[in-house]
């Protein structure tokens, strides 16, 4: 569920899909370094995660690598909601 919701958001809102192209992003790609998420995308991502999973993301967490890739954001949200 968690996995699917994040994937759906990334695909529908940020047009990021994993595995379609060999040279495309994978689940471990740093999406900020690769340019797949820009500053507006970052705002959308944080708003989505906080609303969808009823969590609050702190400044320290924003400064960490927690949201940099699909795998890290999935692990981060799972830890926040105790899954």
């Amino acid at each position: 569920m968690l996995d699917a919701r994040i994937r759906q958001f990334l695909s529908q809102m940020l047009l990021i899909d994993f595995g379609d192209h060999a040279d495309g992003p994978n689940e471990h790609t740093n999406l900020f370094e690769s340019g797949h998420i820009d500053s507006f995308g970052f705002v959308q991502l944080v708003a989505f995660l906080e609303t969808e999973f009823a969590i609050t993301i702190t400044e320290d967490e924003l400064l960490s690598e927690s949201l940099s890739s699909f795998s890290s954001m999935r692990a981060f949200v799972a830890q926040k909601i105790g899954q």
Binding site: L15, F32, G35, S39, G41, F42, A47, E59
Partner: protein, 343 residues
Amino acid sequence: MNEATDVQICARCVLPSTFPGIQFDAQGLCTLCHSAPTVAEFERTRKDLRGRLEQLFDATRGKADYDVIVAFSGGKDSSYTLMSLARHYGLKCLAVTIDNGFIAEQAQKNLRTVTSALGVDFMMFTPAPSFMQRMYRTSATTSVHSDAALTRASSMCNSCIGLINNYMVRLAIEKCVPLIAGGYIGGQVPKDSVIMQLDLDVQSRFRSLAVKRYLRHFGPDAQGYFGLSDDLVSAGRLRTLHIVNPMLGFDVSETQIINEISTLGWSRTTDTGSNSTNCLLNDLGIAVHYKQHGYNPYVNEIAEQVRAGLMARDEGLLKAGDIPEFAQVVRQARAIGLDWNDV
């Protein structure tokens, strides 16, 4: 090259089947129209957004030399934004223009006329023309921006917007101004961006990642235009600032906007195409984007205005269908050293 052929257009808005990530149902409605609010819901949302903006303005007013830096292009939307913030909300504004070297002559007059009529301070920053031309040329020929960003604006416009936004943040830090306002409308920026709180430490880290791409594409000078150094952030007194796009909360059509700002002496340009009121390069950006992606880069914003009840669909269809031929933009292409065969 991705030429659009047999393109289906949404029955409610104006999105074409070439627009990324959308599908059509049996009635011809696009994915975005399916999940879109009704016109009445749009109006309620805008009213709520205006309330949030007013609270923020009340909390900000009178605490610094300027209440707000307004990213002011001289176009209709940023002129209306400046007018609203200065007159309606009584904020002390600093209007700031980035001269990209391609501001139409009438738009340059509008910059002076509008700021003078409103009695607001005005300053302009002119990046080196050689850098700007390289930035535009590279943006037209290489993949610089995310797919999502390209649904909101052309690659050339995205690069320019990034440079402008970064300059405004740096200026806000230097001048200790807690608020930056842009004139973006629905579809040009995400809905979440009507009020964005920016933690400057987070922003500095974010920019350091983004600037690597810009350095790779635009060369070493990009650091000065797209970077946000830790030293600048730590030396400033601000820890956070707010970026607002008030137009997302206003109930105004394009006609109403132009009628209002005309009272300040603003006049429409005649040489910037049907989707810009300030930039001579805009039509080139549209032509390049259409050649590469098969849809008008303004179509998302036009579709959103139609859904929100702020533009008639027929008018939207006309605007979205106005794609310049290369022969119409060859002069602009030459001005940035762009070879059409490289697009």
